[in-house]
């Protein structure tokens, strides 16, 4: 399985428990309605950026490759645009399944630094919990400290926004 290049492995027993708890939850139950038609992947604006598109994620989940899915970059590339679930003939809430997978992935420490979005979301939620509201510039600055190589391109934007009193 060449495409599963980015996963960490779990021991079989751990994998089993994980799988059971996933399929007992709301997201896991929804996975079972998928008929593998591929409408989701065909509608996804970022499928080409994913190591696994949404249809493949659902196929792997049903075939017992939960740990591999949890360690994939794809579950973090979903932008929650809802194109898939609006068109899915089975009404599978794909973005909610992505959320459930993200939670598990973090719980079991399977997300890698280069997936980046965990840091964006953590920075965001930390602000909500601490200050009640979120400031975009604070968010971008916090993210920049963790991922400095993404920053040079954003700096000129920040200056332009500052000049127009938008920060």
């Amino acid at each position: 399985m060449r495409f599963l290049h980015s996963h960490k492995t779990l021991d079989p027993e751990h994998q089993e428990t994980l799988s059971r708890s996933f399929f007992q939850g709301r997201a896991g139950k929804e996975v079972q309605h998928c008929i593998q038609c591929g409408t989701c992947s065909g509608s996804c604006p970022l499928a080409h950026e994913m190591d696994l598109g949404p249809r493949r994620i659902l196929a792997l989940l049903r075939d017992g490759f939960l740990a591999e899915v949890l360690g994939s970059r794809s579950i973090w590339m979903c932008v929650s645009c809802n194109a898939c679930l609006t068109r899915c003939p089975q009404g599978v809430p794909v973005s909610d399944i992505m959320y459930a997978l993200r939670v598990m992935s973090l719980e079991h420490n399977l997300a890698r630094r280069e997936f980046k979005m965990p840091d964006v979301y953590r920075g965001f939620v930390r602000q909500v919990e601490k200050r009640g509201r979120v400031s975009e510039s604070r968010l971008a600055a916090g993210y920049g400290l963790l991922h400095p190589s993404d920053m040079p391109g954003r700096l000129s934007l920040a200056l332009r926004l500052l000049r127009r009193r938008r920060i």
């Binding site: 939850g25 709301r26 997201a27 604006p45 970022l46 950026e49 590339m77 932008v79 929650s80 645009c81 809802n82 194109a83 679930l85 609006t86 909610d96 959320y99 459930a100 993200r102 939670v103 973090l106 980046k116 979005m117 840091d119 964006v120 979301y121 953590r122 965001f124 939620v125 602000q127 909500v128 009640g132 509201r133 979120v134 400031s135 975009e136 510039s137 968010l139 971008a140 993210y143 991922h147 993404d150 391109g153 954003r154 000129s156 934007l157 332009r160 926004l161 127009r164 009193r165 938008r166 920060i167």
Partner: protein, 281 residues
């Protein structure tokens, strides 16, 4: 729109710093005799970050927003952000379909010292509110705007998956609004294509490619400007253009566009805050 009508306005975190959104909403609402009253002491809805880290328990923060609104006596919340709109509506849907989640969320709000009021209520987009006043535009219009071709951009979460708001794949509300103001709406195919949302932070090249397709589609159909209904869409559509090296297309909030048609002085519409100035208008 006052609290006597049963509405509160939920601005969300991006509203204040968005390029002239607040300015133009204030100016247009005052011309149309709509009084927007801000929900007191509101908190962030948590957006997709809340759901990404907490799954269904991400409903807590949006539920708290709605509990505050219920306690203040509102029958409805109105917001001008697609992200807030979707998060609040999604939360309401999850709570109404799962009694345990509903009861548990209410309990948690109480434990944290929050209000003892229903943590859900109907939510509308500001576009829906202004659109329902459609008729009054024509009478108060001043300049002739028909020479300006405007591309309505809805983004993802206004119509998806909310089939009750507008057609999820081919929404029309913003097009009709623009038309009602005297502009010529542009028919193009990417009105609900994704702008990349928060992924612009970590995956800029990927999201800029999404914006490039959208802007090119608009320009291909002869658009002079784009009208948007969400602060994050506005920021992404506008900022990506700076590095893409395309002919630039100004991206205005729908309320700025409305203000131009209503003859509101440009200063009052916050147009100077745009990164791409609408020079030809």
């Amino acid at each position: 729109m006052t609290m006597s009508d049963g509405f509160y306005f939920y601005p969300g975190c991006s509203y204040e710093t968005a390029a002239g959104y607040k300015e133009s909403v204030d100016a247009v609402c005052s011309r149309l005799d709509i009084r927007l009253e801000e929900l007191p002491d509101w908190n962030c809805c948590g957006s997709t970050a809340g759901f990404s880290l907490q799954g269904d328990y991400g409903v807590y923060h949006p539920a708290l927003v709605m509990a505050r609104a219920s306690q203040a006596g509102a029958k409805e919340l109105v917001t001008g952000c697609n992200g807030c709109f979707n998060t609040l509506r999604k939360t309401r849907k999850l709570l109404l379909q799962d009694q345990d989640l509903y009861a548990g969320t209410w309990r948690k709000i109480l434990q944290e010292g929050g209000p003892d009021s229903a943590p859900q209520l109907p939510v509308r987009h500001l576009l829906q509110v202004l659109s329902s006043r459609g008729q009054m535009h024509k009478s108060s219009l001043s300049p002739d705007m028909s020479g300006l071709r405007v591309a309505a951009y809805y983004g993802c979460l206004f119509s998806r998956p909310w089939t009750d708001v507008d057609d999820p794949e081919h929404p029309q509300m913003l097009d009709r609004f623009i038309e009602g103001l005297g502009f010529t709406p542009v028919n193009y195919s990417l009105k609900t294509a994704c702008c990349g949302a928060a992924h612009a932070l970590g995956f800029r090249q990927s999201t800029e490619a999404l914006v490039q397709r959208i802007i090119l589609a608009m320009q291909d159909k002869g658009a002079h400007l784009a009208a948007v209904i969400c602060p994050l869409c506005q920021l992404n559509l506008e900022s990506a253009q700076l590095s893409l090296g395309l002919p630039r297309l100004p991206v205005l909030f729908f309320t700025q566009v409305a203000g131009l048609a209503l003859g509101v002085p440009r200063k009052e519409l916050g147009l100077d805050k745009l990164l791409i100035a609408p020079e030809k208008i």
